[in-house]
Amino acid sequence: MDRLSVNLCGITLDNPVIPASGTFGYGYEFAEIYDINCLGTFSFKGTTKQPRFGNPTPRIAECTAGMINAVGLQNPGVEKVIAEELPRLKQVFHKPVMANVSGFSVEDYAFTCEQLDKEEQVGWLEVNVSCPNVHGGGMSFGTRPEAAAEVTRAVKAVTTKPVIIKLSPNVTDITEIAKACEAAGADGISLINTLLGMRIDLKTRRPVIANTMGGFSGPAIFPVALRMVYQVARAVKIPVVGMGGVSSAEDVLEMMLAGATAVEIGAQNLVDPMASKRIIDALPAVMDRYHINSLSEITGGVKNG
């Protein structure tokens, strides 16, 4: 087994680096820039039952060491994703892919996951119960343990592939929600989704984001993400996928020591399209510097303070 490879819910990844949903489209924009088969896998654009245009623009605001987005789950809907996007994705990426799913009702989630579960290339279902940018859905499922558990149960009932629940950091106690998902049958937990943030344009005195608030991501949120990954990894027995502001190989190692089995790269892909590849290429030398032989050994390896 290669020193970079890890096992996520029974599937071996060549490395733990996974571009996060919403920052990597369905892969082809990046495939024009580099061969994306160097990735462990990637989580494709959040898919819903119905097509969605998403929120009005502006959808993007810049912040110190980060950005706010309020895209609002723009996607062509699961039917079109299966009919048009996945075949194109298959042309440029030849590994199991992570299917990211959002919904507005328990039935939505179950329906969309059931469809994607049947797709050969789908290796994992990442169920997003934490989108901050849609009303009457998304995050509301991720802020109540019972609701998150209900979605988990409904999805598990109609799927065969590993189900990873993606949690929101905008909660008082994220371990409660993680434990509820685990008890409901989740095969893994991924966190954190974006922090709810806001900026105001002093010139216009209006929120920079048309939707007023949005999801804050980037290096700025890394310490919060690392803390929550650490807390959740100690609260559950299922694998944890860590994300939130990861922008270097060092960050990947820190996430893994905190308890992550694999690590997603989000906003950094947007400011540097080569970011995920650069991080993978940098890993061996950085591992050497910190005397890490094999990545699979360090998950949760942080010693007590």
């Binding site: 920052t23 623009t57 810049e62 980060g66 895209v71 947007l270 400011v271 540097d272 399209p273």
Partner: protein, 224 residues
């Protein structure tokens, strides 16, 4: 701002580059004004902290940028005497466009709109290329008094434009031919990944950064 580097990826007029600036998380998209060999010319207006930082850069500073972004203008539809209409900061991308059209032997008419005389720039450069240039200023301090729509020539085969939305709306009503508009929007990535700059068109949603910034008159969905 003039930059020297690999310009191979820069194709059509109307494309943009995305600049990485120290101390800023997101890149800055700037439209290509001109490219000659390995020299890239960008013209920008200082509107925020980012462009302010750009204006304070000293010659010789290295810059990281992504080039060849966006679709750019489609020259094949121009006809013999295309009309180029630029408003304020929308003027620069029309320069390379004019150059290319002239190189194809077209007769290029240019109408440039500004608020006032002090804001007027690049009219001489367009004339030097051999364009037939008209300037309009809202306060009449230079050229025709009024908006670009008050300075349109009688006949032209096609139009290309870049400028603010109000100008686009007025122009869309005033023009007699088909043409292409180059749009602005706040972008996340600038290469089509984040869906941050999507807009609705008559043919579904398009990403300004990847499917645009240039849209054809026939596909634009005009709101309010």
């Amino acid at each position: 701002m003039r930059l020297r580097g690999d310009t191979a990826a820069i194709g059509n007029p109307g494309e943009f580059v995305n600049l990485r600036l120290d101390g800023f998380y997101l890149r800055r998209p700037i439209s290509v004004c001109d490219v000659e060999g390995d020299v890239l010319t960008l013209i920008y207006k200082v509107v925020g902290k980012g462009t302010e930082a750009m204006s304070e850069m000293t010659p010789g500073t290295g810059l990281m940028l992504l080039t060849g972004l966006g679709n750019g203008y489609d020259l094949s539809l121009s006809g013999d005497s295309p009309l180029l209409v630029g408003g304020g900061v929308g003027v620069p991308p029309l320069y390379l466009l004019a150059k290319r059209l002239l190189a194809q032997g077209k007769h290029v008419r240019v109408v440039l709109g500004f608020n006032t005389a002090d804001e007027v720039f690049y009219q001489d450069e367009f004339r030097a290329l051999g364009c037939d240039v008209t300037v309009a200023t809202v306060d009449g301090s230079c050229g025709v008094k009024g908006f670009v729509t008050d300075a349109l020539p009688k006949d032209y085969t096609y139009f290309y434009t870049c400028g603010p939305m109000p100008m686009f709306r007025a122009l869309n009503k005033a023009v007699k031919t088909s043409g292409q508009f180059s749009f602005e929007e706040r972008m996340g990535c600038g290469f089509g990944a984040c869906m941050g700059c999507s807009c609705q068109t008559l043919f579904g949603s398009k990403r300004i950064c990847k499917d645009g910034p240039v849209l054809k008159k026939e596909e634009i969905l005009w709101t309010d």
